[in-house]
């Protein structure tokens, strides 16, 4: 086990039980370190999303282990895993999943308020600062339906960053965006990884975007075919 690794997996396998068991991923050994910007690529159905869910503790491997900052996640209860996701992991998906009834800033405040530990006013300031960094200062009080696709996706990134997690996991975050917006989101991820102790793992189909990552993990048939 690598001491400086944020996430490390060993022989991680996930099989969906059933009359015909489906193997999502098999024998995955990956290490994600701080400051790394990693792209996950591979054909459709190869298991990229499944891998990301496992790294982000949304799913449990059926075999093998996942360490998160040196903690064997096997030992965590379901609530313990929720706690880790809340404080340590940020997710961005292809769909923004913003709550439609809440304004953009309120959406960013949700993970902060759930974690608690600081006054409401301070949270607001922090949320506004994050949104400002992502060029959304004008849209704090707007509702999701009033924003463009690119803005929505940046708002989703802001929410993922709400509790300043060391790990950011993104599953085709640019899948619904045009080239310009896709580039912009990728820039943001790159900055986030390089400006500090954060690790960013991004699943993408776009070779140009993948090329900008420090490392590319290529998944085929649920296995890591290449890790460069």
């Amino acid at each position: 086990m690598n001491g400086s690794a944020l996430i490390e997996t060993r022989a991680m396998t996930r099989v969906l039980p059933g009359p015909v068991p489906v193997t999502l991923v098999r024998d995955i050994d990956v290490t994600v370190g701080a400051g790394e910007f990693i792209a996950v690529t591979g054909p459709s159905g190869s298991g990229k999303s499944s891998l990301l869910y496992l790294l982000g503790l949304l799913d449990r491997p059926t075999e093998g282990t996942v360490w998160l900052k040196g903690i064997d996640t096997e030992t965590l209860t379901e609530d313990g895993r929720s706690g880790v996701r809340l404080a340590r992991i940020g997710f961005v998906f292809q769909f923004h999943f913003l709550l439609p009834e809440f304004t953009i800033i309120e959406n960013v405040l949700i993970p902060m308020r759930r974690l608690g530990g600081c006054p409401e006013g301070e949270m607001r300031e922090r949320a506004a600062a994050i949104l400002d960094d992502l060029d959304l200062a004008e849209n704090l009080e707007r509702r999701p339906h009033q924003l463009s696709g690119g803005q929505l996706q940046r708002a989703a990134v802001a929410r993922a960053l709400a509790n300043d997690p060391p790990i950011l996991l993104a599953d085709e975050p640019t899948g619904n965006l045009d080239t310009k917006n896709a580039d912009r989101v990728t820039d943001i991820f790159q900055d986030l990884a390089h400006s500090g102790e954060r690790a960013v793992v991004m699943v993408t189909h776009n070779p140009d975007l993948a090329a900008r990552a420090d490392r590319r993990i290529h998944v085929v048939d649920g296995r890591v075919a290449e890790d460069l």
Partner: protein
């Protein structure tokens, strides 16, 4: 917690019309159950009050609860004696020489006792024959035992002492005979005695059986009329605390041997009817609440279906199952609580309206207003039932939503 409430509120606002409908459902259930309960307990209490006020709390009767033990049994106390087919001797019924009994009963603290002799007579006035129960009383004792004096609408109880052969009649009976104060009627008994009696008073109790067919006269006169000198057939008791009637009746019976009946025992049948009536009412009300609960269940389920994406993202952000469960439970509870509060208001309004309705009902008693009773217990019970129903109705979909696997939803949403 506040965060969950905020989210719950947005869900409810998003389904305002449906929410309002199920809140109305809860409100109706709570409101009507309070109104019905106040009416039910009100009429029950009214009836009991009337019994307690207008009839004796304990009646010592001229009969025995069990047939007397036969001499052979008394003699062979421990012998294996069994008698069958015993025919009790035809005794002339009545409590003979009641005076010492009455005096000793009046000696018990908190007890007033008065002797009573009651018999059927036929009253005749102006060619009209009406049969009625004539009750012989001792006015100075009777006024402490019954409310006859307060129920007089004309005349005085003491006139029975001063006017020779005075009689006091129920209003309905007087109307049937067509008599007024001062009229002289003739009363004849099965014993063949005929007595001219002068009407000195009219009473109205509100209890139909009494007003239509009962009269009072001096005990001595009635003993003469019925040819039963120095005999009474009941001693009526009034207690300071009517609720202690049953225990008192048991003690008196043990002491005197005569059957002593408490008002509860005498009215057992009616009290049983009340019980059955309450069961029917509460069943009806519960079913209103169950329907309301279905409404809540329906909305909360709909919301959980509608909001699967939100549930999925909240769970992936790090909300625990418990948080999601609480979120939807809150929604059910909010509807339950708002419905309950509105239901309390509705219940109170209905209670006031029902209490103001003028009615002419003649069942056991005459009412001019519906008797309603205000009791906080009704509000608490109805509220508790509604909130329990809302909790169950919210909990079931909440639990299902909380168990949802976020991965399944996120995979399906692109």
């Amino acid at each position: 917690m506040k965060l969950l409430l905020d989210i719950a509120l947005t869900h409810i606002k998003g389904r305002l019309r449906q929410t309002v409908l199920s809140v109305i459902g809860v409100m109706t259930g709570v409101g009507f159950s309070i109104a019905l309960a106040s009416l039910m307990t009100g009429s029950q209490q009214d009836f009991i009050d009337r019994i307690v006020n207008s009839s004796p709390h304990v009646v010592v009767k001229d009969e025995y609860r069990n047939p007397p033990r036969q001499p052979v049994e008394r003699h062979y106390q421990n012998g294996a004696v069994s008698l069958s087919g015993v025919k009790p001797k035809e005794e002339l019924r009545g409590i003979r020489n009641p005076k010492p009994h009455v005096v000793s009963l009046n000696g018990i603290p908190g007890v007033a006792a008065a002797p009573n002799l009651r018999g059927e007579v036929v009253m005749r006035y102006g060619g009209k024959d009406v049969s009625a129960a004539l009750v012989g009383i001792e006015p100075k004792l009777e006024r402490r035992v019954s409310e006859i004096e307060e129920d007089l609408t004309a005349g005085f109880l003491d006139d029975l002492y001063t006017v020779a052969n005075g009689v006091i009649l129920g209003r309905g009976l007087a109307d049937k005979l067509g008599v007024e104060i001062g009229s002289t009627l003739s009363a004849s008994s099965p014993a063949g005695v005929l007595l001219k009696m002068k009407v000195v008073g009219i009473f109205h109790t509100g209890i139909i059986a009494m007003d239509q067919a009962q009269g009072y006269a001096l005990l001595k006169r009635v003993q003469v009329l019925l040819d039963r000198p120095n005999v009474v057939n009941a001693i009526h008791l009034r207690l300071k605390d009517a609720t202690r009637a049953q225990g008192m009746a048991r003690r008196i019976e043990a002491r005197m041997g005569y059957r002593a009946e408490s008002w509860q025992e005498a009215n057992q049948g009616v009290l049983e009817v009340f019980k059955i009536r309450n069961i029917i009412i509460y069943t009806t009300v519960s079913s209103i609440l169950i329907v309301a609960a279905f409404g809540i269940f329906n909305i909360v389920s709909t919301i959980t279906f509608e909001k699967v994406r939100d549930i999925a993202i909240l769970k992936s952000i790090g909300f625990e199952e418990r948080d999601i469960r609480r979120l939807f439970l809150f929604e059910g509870l909010m509807m339950g609580c708002i419905g309950t509060i509105l239901g309390w208001v509705l219940g109170y309004v209905l209670y006031r309206l029902l209490g103001a309705v003028r009615v002419e009902v003649a069942m056991f008693t005459e009412w001019t207003r519906l008797p309603v009773l205000f009791s906080l217990t009704h509000y608490l019970i109805a509220g508790a039932a509604a909130i329990i129903a809302a909790t169950v109705a919210g909990y079931l979909p909440a639990r299902k939503a909380a168990r949802l696997n976020p991965v399944d939803i996120i995979r399906g949403t692109t």
